[in-house]
């Protein structure tokens, strides 16, 4: 399962809910304002760090760059571009968008 999240962790609890309900081995892709969760020093960073044990975490690079965060991404988070986004959707049997 690919979990796609687009809301900032301090605006809504989508990141938290997705991490709680994603099964082991699932893939999480942070896009738009959800990319803030994957930056060093953000209050959600600890939750992302803990989730990495069971989940593979990606963030959309153009969305990070648009927010001035290109050099603040946590270690262990993989970056993808739009083509990589499409690949993730194609590779996974199903996907869920957390609103």
């Amino acid at each position: 399962m690919l979990h796609i999240i687009n809301k900032s962790p301090s605006d809504r609890n989508s990141v938290e809910a997705a991490l709680r309900l994603a099964t082991k081995g699932s893939v999480v892709l942070l896009i738009e304002d959800a990319v803030y969760a994957a930056t060093r020093g953000n209050t959600a960073a600890a939750k992302i760090q803990a989730a990495m044990a069971d989940l593979k975490i990606y963030a959309l690079k153009p969305d990070l760059e648009t927010r001035g965060l290109a050099d603040r991404v946590m270690d262990g988070v993989s970056l993808v571009d739009y083509a990589g986004f499409v690949d993730l959707v194609a590779e996974q049997p199903n996907c869920q968008s957390w609103l």
Partner: protein, 130 residues
């Protein structure tokens, strides 16, 4: 009220604070607030902007929006000075919760504690939230 009547004569200057609590780019709030603030400058009022919670992200340096093809309106915050909008307040607690410092911001701001910002907010005649 008599105060409002005075304003029409250009007499009374009121204190307006625009409170920004949303991250830029993901929603339209930040850009809308910025446009409202620039327009408000024409009325020659005492205008300030406060950046709280995800709103502090509006002032991030190093924006590159080529990949998303969104308009990089971060540059516009640097025009505020030319519109005589010089009071930009940033809440210290919001910066800390995001691992940011004043050095990460693209314009000169006044960093305030929540208590200081609360007091400044309470002094306003009008507070407009985005």
């Amino acid at each position: 009220m008599s105060d409002d009547m005075d304003m029409e004569d250009g007499g009374t200057i009121k204190k307006f604070m625009f409170v920004n609590r949303k991250a830029p780019y993901g929603t339209i709030y930040a850009l809308e607030a910025l446009e409202v603030v620039l327009i408000s400058a024409a009325f020659e009022q005492d205008v300030s902007m406060a950046f709280v919670d995800d709103g502090v992200y509006q002032l991030m340096k190093g924006i590159n929006s080529e990949g998303t093809e969104l308009k990089n309106f971060s540059k516009t915050y640097r025009a505020l000075d030319g519109y005589d909008i010089e009071k930009l307040y940033v809440e210290q607690e919001s910066l800390e919760a995001r691992g940011l410092t004043e050095d990460d911001l693209l314009v000169d701001v006044t960093v305030m504690s929540a208590a200081e910002l609360a007091a400044t907010m309470a002094e306003q005649d009008v507070v407009i939230s985005h």
